[in-house]
């Protein structure tokens, strides 16, 4: 077990390093970092000073290592646009994104589990078809289109929910529903497959044969087994959600990380973009690492392969 964890950890560190190289390259391909840092109207002397103080005249490898060392100490550089420390900007925005991700996940699960169970129990019937239809639709509707339609219905027509912003928990409902619906299908499919599997198992048949009411069998025995793989998917989806809310955050003017990243693309504010890309990648790496370790702990067979 320990060897497996160490191996897995080693891979995670390697991946993280590789991503950091890519993120570092992102800042370099877009042109002259020194004049961007110096700001407009800077004289040739100002730029020369920046080049010296930031070590931009040293070999690229040295620059990368210096940058990496800074990142590891929490120094993510300075925003070209806001002229503030990137770390400060990220800290002020990440809370909203995490709330949104968790709410979306909760909504996706409350939709996916009942639908998946229904589809499995009535596998092959019209109920199954409707459930998979709902899920297919979720994947076909562009999330931005769904978001706009929800705003029109719930914010303007019914006046139940705010149209944008992040001031109260109500502000998160519409964006969370949009994102949640979009990620429902993979969960639903997984629950359905797991349930079909579990329902055909011997112990469920035995339980049924013993005369335990059908709904009890489904909920108590089969569902518990079917939910195990869902836990793994939750961690992966959480990582994707934190990174994937760019469009939704910008439509709802929800002041989070995705919105910050979207703005920074518009402003060519590459230090911010670089930091967000790096951060999101690391979140994904850490979450998949955790999920792998938990799975290996639950299922010893995985450790061998």
């Amino acid at each position: 077990m320990l060897i497996y964890i160490l191996k897995r950890l080693g891979l995670a560190v390697l991946v993280a390093l590789c991503v950091s190289v890519l993120a570092f390259a992102l800042l370099r391909v877009q042109g002259n970092a020194a004049s961007a840092l110096a700001g407009e109207g800077a004289s040739a002397e100002d730029i020369a000073i920046i080049i010296r103080t930031h070590g931009l005249d040293r070999p690229v490898v040295v620059q990368y290592l210096t940058w990496l060392a800074n990142v590891l100490q929490g120094d993510l550089g300075t925003s070209y646009f806001f002229k503030r420390p990137v770390a400060e900007l990220i800290v002020s925005k990440i809370g909203n994104t995490v709330i949104l991700a968790i709410m979306s996940l909760a909504i996706a699960l409350t939709l996916a589990v009942p639908l998946g169970v229904l589809a499995a129990v009535y596998s092959g019937s019209w109920i199954d078809r409707i459930c998979s239809g709902i899920s297919l639709l979720g994947q076909a509707l562009p999330s931005f289109f769904l978001a706009l339609c929800l705003v029109m219905l719930f914010a303007i027509h019914l006046r139940l929910l705010p149209a944008s912003g992040a001031q109260t928990w109500q502000h998160f409902i519409l964006p969370a529903v949009t994102l949640g619906y979009y990620i429902t299908p993979p969960f639903m499919r997984l629950v359905r497959a797991g349930m079909i599997d579990a329902l055909s198992n011997d112990y469920v048949r035995t339980a049924r044969a013993k005369g335990i009411p059908s709904h009890k069998v489904v909920l108590k025995h089969a569902l518990r087994n079917a939910l195990v793989p869902v836990v793994g998917l939750v961690t992966v989806q959480l990582g994707l959600l934190i990174g994937g809310s760019v469009v939704i955050e910008s439509i709802f003017a929800l002041d989070g990380l995705g919105y910050l990243a979207y703005q920074s693309i518009g402003y060519r504010d590459f230090p911010v973009l670089q930091a967000v890309v790096l951060l999101l990648s690391l979140v994904y790496v850490v979450l998949t690492l955790l999920s792998d370790v938990v799975n290996a702990w639950l299922d010893p067979r995985l450790r061998v392969s």
Binding site: E40, M152, L158, S164, G165, I251, D255
Partner: protein
């Protein structure tokens, strides 16, 4: 009337009329949205309109322009005289305090003007302060400004953009400061500021002002960045916002039919024009051919765009300036009519009969960009649109990497041509033509005190711009304000929201 519209009207009538407006009236606040994030809350370090608006609401200038008479009136300075063409002496108001309670005196004025006029500190718009040579303190409440030469636009800048900050406010160049929140003497103070997020202003209870800028009635102003116009509209219709500005004509007109929303339109000083890059650094050789530039002028039906897309309050212009600015004239300025055939012929003559590809940089009014692209396509010019944030576009222009720049210039609300034409043709950073003759004329005009001589110089420059077809002047932009019913506000051509005058009915 479609079912959809009936639904919309019905629900709007039920909800908005009383409930939402009343809630905001009760806490005496206004929620305002702007579509671009502010790079800095300091008006010296942003060119964004929102920065100008904050500048006027949070800070004070030495003098203020009376919008009815056009005269300069007292604000932080109670009295002033020109000792000679290059020396201005001002007496300052006593009893004024900054938002932290410290009192205002001559040191603050000397500090502010010295800081902003030093090029090393790199304020974004150098021209508003580069006429200042030095400032000296002549008493606790009196200062003397020495100019670099005759500076006819000095009072204009002193009454508009030159906001006074407290002594020692900055800790370094480029606006670096140790202060947690920006600070001035204006009718509102910063309550909170989140970079790229919400800005909250609160009323300055100790505001002194003058007869021409009075204490505020509203308690609070909250300003959010909402980049998507449809989200702004949704917020307005659902009562989540009290005021927005700058909606396109179509949306403003449709909003006006909604109960609970009041729409006001106003003419502005903002001019739209395509700047054609011809400088030596510019890489596009085609644009250095005057026939191509004339063809571009003939190809675009600016009247049709102005009438149909921009709407009432938009006037076609032929000179790159706002007509009410001192020195702006269309007399003797060549006007190019819409004539696609001539445009095609000119392009063919210049050797581009088989087509030409140009880049268009734009940062606002994307629908106008698209109309322009379609007009140019008609005469065989393919346009690649580079639509970006204003700061990014400014960088592109200043690094001479644009062909056509769609500018919408508001002259910082300054009624003098020195705030418009020279910015793009007088050798300043945004000049993508670098025409030596124009630079000479426009520079000379900035140091001539005789009004008639100045006017003549400006007219010569405007004629040359048109004859050389260095730009495609298009039209003025009206601005549409949409607000909750019951909010009392007045609009001005200078597009400045004077929040201190706003109130709920």
């Amino acid at each position: 009337m479609t079912l959809h519209k009936i639904l919309l009207l019905g629900t709007a009538m039920m909800g908005l009329t009383a409930a939402q407006g009343a809630a905001q009236q009760a806490d005496n606040a206004v929620r305002f949205a702007y579509d671009q994030a502010l790079e800095s809350p300091d008006p010296y370090f942003t060119t964004l309109r929102l920065g100008v608006i904050l500048g006027r609401n949070v800070w004070d200038t030495l003098v203020i322009r009376n919008l009815e008479t056009g005269e300069f009136e007292p604000l932080l300075a109670t009295d002033w005289t020109w000792a000679d063409d290059e020396t201005l002496e001002l007496t300052l108001r006593e009893g004024v305090t900054f938002h932290d309670g410290s009192s205002f005196d001559a040191d603050d004025v000397v500090y502010t003007l010295s800081y902003v006029s030093d090029p090393a500190n790199r304020i974004v718009s150098q021209q508003i302060a580069d006429w200042i040579d030095s400032v000296e303190k002549t008493g606790d409440y009196s200062v003397r400004i020495h100019t670099k030469g005759p500076s006819p636009a000095a009072m204009e800048f002193l009454s508009s953009q030159l906001a006074i900050v407290p002594d020692g406010y900055y800790s370094g160049p480029a606006g670096a400061t140790e202060q947690a929140l920006p600070m001035g003497t204006g009718p509102f103070r910063f309550d909170s500021y989140s970079a790229g997020g919400e800005i909250v202003l609160a009323r300055n209870e100790d505001y002194v002002g003058s007869e021409f800028k009075t204490p505020a009635s509203l308690d609070r102003i909250s300003i959010r960045t909402i980049p998507d116009q449809q989200t702004q509209i949704a917020e307005l219709m659902s009562g989540g916002l009290d005021l927005t500005m700058g909606l396109p004509r179509d949306q403003a007109e449709m909003l006006a039919q909604m109960p609970g929303v009041a729409v006001e339109s106003g003419e502005t000083m903002r001019i739209v024009f395509l700047q054609i890059a011809t400088s030596d650094e510019s890489s596009n050789e085609a644009l250095k051919d005057i026939r191509v530039r004339k063809a571009l002028n003939h190809a675009i039906d600016k009247q049709a765009i102005s009438t149909n897309l921009v709407g009432e309050g938009s006037n076609v212009i032929n000179a790159v300036c706002f007509i009410d600015q001192f020195g702006c004239t269309e007399e003797g300025v060549t006007a190019y009519d819409y004539d696609p055939d001539t445009a095609r012929a000119l392009l063919a003559e210049a050797g581009y009969g088989n087509g030409l590809t140009l880049r268009l940089h734009a940062y606002r009014e994307r629908h106008i960009s698209e109309a322009i692209i379609n007009y140019l396509a008609e005469v065989g010019v393919t346009v690649e649109l580079n639509y970006m944030q204003p700061a990014a576009m400014r960088d592109a222009m200043r690094s001479a990497s644009v062909d056509l720049a769609q500018n919408a210039w508001g002259s910082y609300s300054i009624y003098d041509l020195s705030a418009s034409t020279p910015v793009y043709f007088g050798g300043q950073p945004d000049d993508n033509n670098r025409d030596p003759e124009l630079i000479e004329i426009l520079t000379e005009a900035e140091s001539v005190m005789d009004p008639d001589a100045r006017k003549e110089l400006y007219a010569t420059a405007l004629r040359r711009i048109a004859d050389e077809a260095l730009a495609v002047p298009m039209f003025t932009l009206p601005v549409y304000y949409a607000g909750a019913e019951g909010l009392k506000f007045e609009t001005y051509p200078d597009e400045i929201l004077r929040f201190w005058e706003y109130s709920w009915q």
